[in-house]
């Protein structure tokens, strides 16, 4: 791959490992330094702050998670309002792409991750996550959020969006009638799904996948 005549650009390898990382043999001192660095990696910590929840783990029957600005906007436009829903939690995190705002009075253009509870049925929880949760933070997010709730009888619905250009299909994506819905469901989900299932070889990644 050349950008101008004579320049060769190294194509990124799918091996996914930096050459330097792989080469360096780890001495005991290296290991110690690495451990300290990991402990100090507080910049990448994901903090989940709950308010108004009587006990932890709290009972939850339905949990709807909207990931990404589009899905979050969908919830804002069609579901959420200040009469029926109250804010019960917020996630604070920082990464190279965004920092979540610290208030709960957010603008649609902010990056935020908020949890709402239905006042008439406090076991119904909603999450709007318009901030990007980085790869190394996704597992933490998952453990801290789901770790706070009782999981028996819990039904989880995840709403998310992907660019049509990423969708793999026999025909060209130009001719597809978009937007369109696809779903993935676990074996345990017995109810009818309102749209077709996601065909191979398409996949979902990042926080919705986690």
């Amino acid at each position: 791959m050349a950008t101008f005549f004579g320049e060769v650009v190294v194509a990124p390898s799918r091996a996914g490992l930096d050459e330097e990382e792989e080469e360096r043999e780890e001495t005991p001192e290296d290991r110690e330094i690495r451990r300290e660095l990991e402990k100090k990696r507080s910049g990448r910590e994901v903090d989940v702050l709950w308010s108004g929840l009587a006990q932890r783990p709290f009972v939850c029957s339905r949990f709807v998670v909207a990931i990404g600005r589009n899905a979050a906007a969908f919830l804002s436009s069609f579901i959420l309002d200040s009469v029926c829903w109250e804010v019960v939690g917020v996630v604070k995190l920082w990464n190279e792409w965004c920092r979540t705002s610290s208030t709960t009075n957010v603008l649609p253009t902010d990056s935020f991750c908020l949890f709402y509870r239905l006042i008439s049925d406090p076991t119904v929880l909603l999450c709007q996550c318009s901030c990007y949760v980085a790869e190394d933070q996704q597992f933490q997010w998952l453990e801290k959020v789901f770790g706070s709730m009782q999981k028996e009888g819990l039904q989880v619905t995840i709403l998310s969006t992907c660019p049509v250009a990423d969708y793999k299909t026999q025909e060209s994506t130009l001719t597809l009638a978009s937007p369109f819905l696809k779903a993935l469901k676990t074996k345990e989900f017995q109810e009818r799904v309102c749209c077709p299932l996601l065909e191979q070889p398409n996949i979902v990644r990042d926080l919705p996948a986690a």
Binding site: A11, S13, R14, A15, G16, L17, E19, E21, E22, E26, R34, E38, E135, D136, Q138, F139, Q140, Y167, K168, T169, Q170, E171, S172, T173, L174, T175, L184, K185, T186, K187, L197, L198, E199, Q200, P201, N202, I203, V204, R205, D206, L207, P208, A209, A210
Partner: protein
């Protein structure tokens, strides 16, 4: 246990897909790990409407009891700084489950070959000392080439030789750790470049088959392997007709 290394061209992973798909292996478990990028999709080995809706994630284990075979498939890259903890967890699982032998399928950058490696077969093997005792002779009979070591300080001293597998991902780490832990491990790798690596996967899986005879060898070297349905559209969607 067979497993791939996430390496150049994803050849190991493609070869493992062929093994799982051809031997119709059953999924028996998965790794719940924070070391790999999360992903999920529907069954990549689906053959019909009925079996196409099982979810599949980034690190899953399949088995074939009749051949006492267990296969781990890894589908996504490592998260930064997490490849070491993953290797540790993996090797401790291998030891804990008393797995007899591990075969790692991998690949290495073709452009890093020296003059001698450019000639002849692009396939190489490595055996840990414990496995060398058991099957070293067989490798000689098969006329296989062992992966060459390279000078640690090229140009300065040619006497110190080290193992170097550029583009091999965690291959070298798994191998060196297995040597020191007394695990019987073999690495089978192919020199290749990024691109359409399906032919490389066939070559690698046939190499494995030469040794372990998983399927009957045919004259046409790719017909005995079943391509999984998820290999459709590896290079994206169809093209818009308006382009032409």
């Amino acid at each position: 246990l067979f497993q791939p290394a996430v390496s150049v061209g994803n050849v190991g992973q493609l070869a493992i897909d062929l093994v799982i798909s051809t031997l119709d292996m059953t999924k028996v478990g998965y790794f719940y790990t924070d070391c790999l990028v999360p992903m999920v999709g529907n069954n990549p080995y689906a053959t019909a409407e009925e079996n196409s809706t099982e979810l599949s994630i980034n690190a899953e284990v399949y088995s074939l009891p009749s051949k006492k075979l267990v296969v781990l498939q890894i589908r996504s890259p490592f998260i930064k700084n997490k490849y070491r903890p993953f290797c540790e967890a993996l090797l401790s699982w291998v030891k804990g489950s008393r797995c007899a032998r591990v075969v790692v399928l991998s690949s290495s950058h073709a452009y890093q070959r020296d003059d001698e490696q450019l000639l002849g077969t692009p396939l190489r093997y490595l055996l840990t000392p414990d496995l060398e005792k058991a099957v070293g002779g067989l490798m000689q009979e098969l006329n296989w080439k062992e992966m060459e070591k390279v000078a640690a300080y090229p140009g300065i001293s040619e006497t110190d030789k080290v193992l170097h597998i550029p583009g091999g991902g965690i291959t070298k780490l798994l191998f060196t750790e297995s040597c020191s832990k007394g695990i019987q491990m073999a690495v089978l790798l192919k020199f290749c470049s990024e691109g359409d690596n399906i032919p490389d996967a066939f070559v690698l899986v046939n190499y494995l088959n030469e040794w372990l005879q998983l399927v009957k060898s045919e004259v046409n070297s790719s017909s005995q392997w079943k391509i999984p349905s998820s290999w459709r559209l590896l290079f994206g969607s169809g093209l818009p007709p308006a382009l032409f």
